[in-house]
Every structure is written in C-alpha cells, then in structure tokens.
Symmetry: D2
C-alpha cells in the first residue's frame, strides 16, 4: 500500500484511524487468498465483525511512503478469531496490531442482524483459511 | 456527535476506524475545556501523539444515531498519559477505549520532528488539565 | 459544523473531499427539517443518489474552525433535482456548490438496485420538501 | 485502484467524496510520472491547490471492484491549469471530472500561506509536465 496525501494530517504523518482501514483491506485479502473471500462468506450467510483492537505504533508513515501489511492468525476460537498485523516500511515494522473478529449472521444485503444477536460458529471454510495460529505479537 | 451517512459501511454500522476520529475530537475538546487547547500546547512547542490504542465494541452505531463520548484521565506518567473513552447511546456504552499519548516536540508548522526523537516531559499546563486519574476501564 | 483535525491535510486546510461529506449531512438535514427524512423516503422505497457536482472554493477551512452550511433548492425536475450549498465562516462564504440528485428505487436494506435502472419520479413528499427553487449560484 | 470496503456506504456503492481522493492520488501520480513530483514542486516552493471541481457519475463502484483512473491535461493558464479524469471499470467510464488547480506558494513545512495570497505562475517544470491539452470532457 501507499500512504495517501489525504490520510496525512497536520502532524505530517498518517492519521491513526486510517490504520484500521489498512488492516481491514489486509484482512479481507488474507482470507480471500486462502479461499474465504467476502463473497464466499456472504454466500454462507456470514460476515466477520471486529469487536476488539489493540494497536501499537513505533513510527509514523509519511506521505507517499510505500509499506506492506503482514497478516497472521493469532488465535482461533468457536465463534471468534484473532489476527495479528504489522505495517512494514523498508522491511521494518512501524505499527503492530491484534484484532479480534466475531462471525456474525448477515441478511441477503450484507447487513448485520439488528441487535447483534447473530453470533455464529466459525464455518469450516473459514477455519481452513485461518489455519494454525502463528502470532506476530505476545498478546 | 451524530453518526454520518458516509461513516456507515455496507454492514449497516459505523466503520470501526471512525471511532478513532471520534476519540481524537473528544480528546482535544476534553483538554481544551481544561485549559490545554491545541493552540496552547502548540504555543508551548508540543503536541500529543497517539502510540497505543485498545478498543472494545459491544454494539454498533447506526446512521444518524446521536451519541456522546465520555473522556476521563486513566494514567499520567512523565512523558506519556492515557485517557479512557466511552461512546454512549441513550446513556448506554456501545464502545470503550484506552488510548496512550506521548508528548512530542513540534516545529512551528505543527509537524512532528522527523525520526520521532522529540519526546518531551508533560508540561505543567497539561498535567493540570489531566488532573487525577479516574479510569473508565480496568486496563 | 466544525473542521475535524483528521480532515486537515498537510497543506493545513480541510482536504477537498470532506466537503462532499459536509454537503451530504447538510442535504439530509435540510430534507428532514422539511418532512422528507431519510427514513421517510426509505419507507416510500426511494433514496436520492448524487449524479453531478460542481464546487468552487474561495478559501480553505482550518482546524477547529466553526462553519455553517447553507442549503437551498436550485432546480426541481421530474426524476431529479438540484440543491445549492455554501459553507460560511463568520458569515462569509468560503465554498459554494451545486449538486444534482436523482431519485432512485432502493431495496428493503437501503441499497440501490444493481445496474442503476431504478430512476423514480420525485414523490409528493419530497417535492413539498424541496419547495420553490431559490438558487444560491448562477449555475 | 480498488474500492475499499470502508469507502462503500449503506447504498452499496462508493461514497461520492472518495472520488476526490482517487483524483488526488491520480493527479500526483500523473505529474510525478512526467517529472513534477510533489517533492520536486515543494523544492521549488510551490504546491497545487484545487479551486474548482465538476464531477459526473454514470455508474457506481461496488466493493472490491478494480478500476483505473485516466488523467489528461485539459487547459493550461498562467497561474492555473485543469485536468480531466475518468474512472474506468473494465474499460468503461463510470465517472468523469474536470478539476482546476492553482499554483500556490508554500512554506518549508508544505503549508499554504495563510490568507490565500500566494498565487504563483506555473513553473517551467510543471508546464513541461502538463504538456499540450488533450481534454477528456467538453468542459
């Protein structure tokens, strides 16, 4: 990815909220590359919803800098799982995160059931995509 | 605050990254109300930079829903401090967060010094604004 | 409204794309105040979709500046209408826009029909909300 | 480019404001590819500021759809110039725009001079990058 001009704030670095966009794109690409694309999950009547985030920054990204986002499975439960992320600039980590997702029922339009009652067990295709945990962070 | 239409994603709830925008606005309003506005800090040659975030969601905000953001000091260190946040809809918490900030030197334009070497002790006016810790979260 | 810190880019002024968010919020508030809220339109099976925008800036908004957004009906057609907008800081216009919207059928989830074939005549409640044109711009 | 999940709103298509982000990235890439990168312009003490936008949509982009952004010089004046843009999905235009930019003096931090008095003639390296006009739109 490349830091967009509008993502850089008056401090001269990417505003923190944009990292959650980077991780969202990285998460869907990670799952899709392993056979659990958004469309495949939606066809199975589920989507994943983020419920917990921990992020640590050690450096800021500046305008037009290129970076990669490493993704790895950190934990797999019954209805939830965690992924670890690292943004890397020239191979060096500038930010790392652990994000917990819950599998949720969606309606035909892709929307979450109102009231949040729709927790679902991790489907087999998603479990296969997640594979064995290999965390990038201690917690 | 009120959830904007463009902040709601295809799941029908506010996309997670926007909460960091809400907390950013709430943080600056909290400090300004206690005498440490962005302009006052900038006049003292410093700004605060976010280095750690933990966020937990229990419900999603939907389009045009009104909510408040509670802010409280969670910890005060030598060069860093933590604030706790809660988004509340009809008085009920839907999301809580702890965010750690570091005091950093800025140049006359408001930009952080390149290389991130600019850590500074918490100035007296900021310590006074933060007051005694009264956390909203256990950690 | 107030310019958010994250909306200000490295030039020190609000990034141009955010104005379309401001106008979107102003449009829905304008229609809601006149009896055609998003929910009322959705209950009638329609929503409005933006198809044309013209925006002119004469000054930039800076961080934490307060401004208002004036809205006025510019044109009312059979399936489309235009609104004019002005952002005003201390009563002085800093930006003006004309935006053309088309009335579109939506499904029960609020989504536009795929393929964009869903143009609909302006419903009576929306025509009443728009009232007589009183443009803020020549075109 | 690829439409990000968070850019898609509750209507199921990319929110209109994001197109100005797409055009911003396309503009800087277009100029950089022709020798007038942001850094090169900044070294010459100038940046470009958007003052006028016209955008027409004929179709919406949906989540994860790939698209390209065509850019072409539309007009070159003394202190301003216009570029035309088209977003294309599978080779078909879904949106076109004309955007007018003014050359502005910036300070060493990249910020525009306060008050907007900083209009500058188009520097030779930028004129060379723009080349001869070849509009994509009638106006």
């Amino acid at each position: 990815m490349r830091a967009r001009y509008m993502e850089v704030d008056a401090q001269g670095v990417v505003f923190n909220g944009w990292y959650l966009t980077y991780f969202d794109e990285a998460m869907t690409a990670f799952l899709a590359a392993r056979g659990a694309s958004y469309a495949t999950l939606a066809a199975a009547g589920v989507d994943v919803q983020l419920v917990h985030v921990e992020v640590d920054w050690t450096a800021g990204l500046r305008y037009a800098e290129d970076f990669t986002v490493a993704v790895s499975t950190a934990r797999v439960g019954r209805t939830s799982f965690a992924l670890d992320f690292q943004t890397r600039r020239d191979g060096e980590a500038t930010c790392s995160a652990r994000i917990v997702y819950v599998v949720m029922a969606i309606d035909g339009s892709g929307k979450l059931a109102a009231g949040g009652s729709g927790k679902r067990p991790i489907p087999a295709l998603l479990a296969a995509a997640l594979g064995d945990p290999a965390p990038l962070r201690a917690r």
